[in-house]
């Protein structure tokens, strides 16, 4: 009889090898799927994983990886801090939307003034919007002990309704012939989130994502607050004895994640997306949760996870258009990758044994 035994310390080997294993397993299972759909599995897998990196016109697609990964990394890093401390913010999508709306509102209020300060101001407003939206579950949690998972999730729907309202009324482009959607930031240079190096895909959001990930890593491993976060997550009772204030931790973690999600929102609205429309939110806030776990809640791991996830989007879309695959098949493929990644993660923390195991424990 097979059984699992919890390792005293996570296995370093499996920590690095599980993602590789998951990708290999996905290629096999996904290959079967694509073969069933009548495509050549090798061509499809190559198109998804290789062509965006080194195929024809790869310079364009590599840049697209940053565009796609930046918001995912930015949001996931913020979420990971909270998840480490046992604070479950699953409403990053709402914080992302509010950051975009508040930031874009500030920017468009100045239209068509040209001033260098407008873009920084928008970014600050975006971060504030996400932070403020996250403060709602934070304050309800600390004042009334209301479950933050559920409040943050509910607030996503409220934010989506506000987004619809914004694109139909208060942010509607006055020159838009009566169609919904805000003015496009590409027509407003002062508020535009440009690529720092032309065509690199490396806009301010990508810079922020990398900077924040590194900073969060340092914070988590070298700083007092990082210690408190890890302690609260692993041993809540011990944390309290150490004088870790749960209230301040909740406010910090939710606020941090909210501000980062808001930043991702405004960078997206003023850059790659260009405008606020009803369909502005395409699920980055939810996908980032998965990215956070794929990155093992480690800010540096999240950079890789974000890029991998971005690769499946960019490569997947390439496979759809080049091989006329249905969009759903790529969704299924991504789902498989996630399942395998989540499943094999067990090998990091557990050992498979024959016969009865001895050590007992619980993990989140």
């Amino acid at each position: 009889m097979l059984s699992l035994e919890r390792r005293a310390n996570p296995s370093q080997f499996w920590l690095w090898f599980t993602p590789v294993l998951a990708v290999i397993l996905t290629m096999v299972a996904g290959g079967l799927l694509f073969a069933l759909l009548g495509s050549n599995p090798f061509t499809v897998i190559r198109t998804i994983f290789w062509d965006p990196l080194a195929g024809t016109n790869a310079s364009y697609f590599r840049a697209q990886l940053f565009i796609k990964a930046a918001p995912l990394i930015l949001i996931a890093v913020g979420l990971a801090m909270g998840f480490r401390a046992g604070i479950w913010n699953i409403g990053a999508e709402g914080q992302y939307i509010m950051g975009a709306i508040i930031g874009a509102s500030v920017g468009l209020a100045f239209f068509p003034t040209e001033n260098r300060l407008i873009f920084p101001l928008m970014v600050a407003a975006g971060a504030f919007g996400g932070w403020a939206w996250a403060m709602i579950p934070a304050i309800l949690k600390t004042k009334f002990n209301t479950n933050e998972i559920l409040v943050s999730l509910m607030l996503v729907y409220v934010a989506q309704a506000i987004l619809a309202k914004a694109s139909f009324s208060f942010l509607r482009n006055p020159d838009g012939m009566g169609f919904p959607g805000s003015r496009n930031f590409s027509t407003y240079p002062a508020a535009r989130n440009l690529d720092l190096i032309e065509r690199s895909g490396f806009h301010w959001g990508a810079v922020a994502a990398l900077g924040v990930a590194v900073a969060a890593y340092v914070l988590l491993t070298r700083h007092g607050i990082g210690f408190r976060i890890r302690l609260a997550g692993q041993a809540p009772r011990a944390a309290r004895f150490h004088g870790v204030s749960p209230t301040r931790l909740v406010i910090f973690c939710l606020g941090f994640a909210g501000a980062l999600a808001g930043l991702a929102g405004i960078f997206e609205a003023s850059g790659p997306s260009g405008q606020i429309t009803e369909n502005f939110a395409t699920g980055y806030g939810f996908t980032a949760i998965i990215v956070a776990f794929l990155g093992r809640l480690n800010p540096l791991g999240i950079i890789f996870a974000g890029l991998l996830m971005a690769l499946t989007y960019v490569g997947g879309s390439l496979a759809e258009s080049r091989l006329n695959l249905p969009a759903a098949s790529i969704q299924v493929f991504q789902g498989m990758l996630l399942f395998f990644l989540l499943g094999v993660d067990m090998l990091t923390n557990y050992r498979i044994r024959y016969g009865a195991a001895r050590v007992k424990g619980a993990g989140a």
Binding site: A161, F286, I290, A328, Q331, V332, L342, R358
Partner: protein, 309 residues
């Protein structure tokens, strides 16, 4: 009874029908969460139920078979979640989200070739004279069997959770899995069964969407209903009776919007569409502030359990 240009009996009848998918899915999720598992994949299981129920009903030319198939396939699909979280100890939040993504993709592939077809009709249950009772007749006695089945399931879940030993065990596992384990209960096995039940109920709810509420199959047709079901479970503080109330409230707000518009009222649609969620948050706050821990959230919700005999 006509109030403000709206026939209340008909309005209530349509909210009862509109609420069936969310009611079924939310009842299933209630049991899942009571056992300490947070499965965010409700939407994915519903869409799987919708497509498989539709395919079965069309192929076998039998609507009842469709509902059974939807429930079975929903349960089978939830096995992925059960295996990952209960055996492989994967994080529940991430796994649930992945399940939804996967379900939407799989259903779209499975449903190719079933667009634009009409499924067999699920008619009203012939209740004879009851149909003609003023007010109550049109409101209560002109529905199809699934409506009555979903109401029965409200009672059944309440009964099982609160009045049977099985319910006691489920709740024990959800409140404190360590203690339940110490008492000799197989925590993961019990949770697995609850997850399967949740999958079956979500699948049946999905089948109701594709077989009755909108009798057709189209990609992504559940369109967020699963997320509403999740909200209702919380709104109801994990109690089946309140799940019914919540489903009717949400269902009511859903049908009220178009009805008010049809009756000529100018209403701000955005505010109406965010209302249920704001109300849920308010309810959550009231319940959690008033009585501290008696909020009803299972203490082990979302935490995996690993033990070796």
């Amino acid at each position: 009874m006509i109030v403000g240009g709206l026939d209340i009996a008909i309005l209530l009848a349509s909210l009862m029908v509109g609420a069936v998918p969310i009611l079924l899915a939310a009842l299933g999720e209630t049991v899942v969460e009571r056992s300490g598992v947070l499965n965010l994949g409700v939407e994915g299981m519903m869409i799987i139920g919708a497509v498989t129920g539709f395919i079965a009903a069309v192929t076998l030319e039998n609507a009842v078979a469709g509902f059974i198939a939807g429930a079975l396939c929903g349960a089978a699909f939830s096995l992925i979640f059960a295996a990952l979280t209960q055996v492989f100890q994967a994080n529940q939040v991430a796994t649930g989200l992945a399940l939804t993504l996967f379900g939407i993709g799989v259903s779209s592939l499975a449903g190719q070739g079933y667009n634009g077809i009409k499924p067999p009709v699920t008619g009203a249950v012939p209740l004879g004279l009851l149909r003609d009772i003023p007010f109550l007749g049109p409101m209560l006695f002109r529905h199809d069997w699934v409506v009555y089945f979903s109401l029965f399931m409200v009672f059944a879940t309440w009964f099982v959770l609160n009045r049977t030993r099985a319910g006691l065990i489920i709740r024990a596992v959800g409140e404190n899995h360590e203690a339940a384990h110490a008492l000799g209960y197989k925590v993961n096995r019990i949770r697995l069964l609850c997850i399967l039940f949740g999958g079956a109920m979500a699948g049946m709810g999905g089948a109701y969407v594709s077989l009755v509420r909108v009798p057709q199959w189209t990609d992504n047709m559940t369109n967020g209903v699963g997320w509403i079901a999740l909200a209702i479970v919380v709104f109801a503080s994990w109690r089946p009776g309140r799940v019914l109330f919540g489903a009717w409230l949400f269902g009511g707000l859903m049908v009220l919007g178009p009805n008010l518009q049809a009756a000529g009222y100018a209403i701000p649609v955005e505010y109406l569409s965010m209302a249920p969620y704001v109300i849920t948050i308010i309810v959550l706050v009231i319940m959690s502030s008033g009585r501290g821990r008696s909020l009803g959230a299972p203490a082990s919700l979302g935490q995996n359990f690993h033990a070796s005999r």
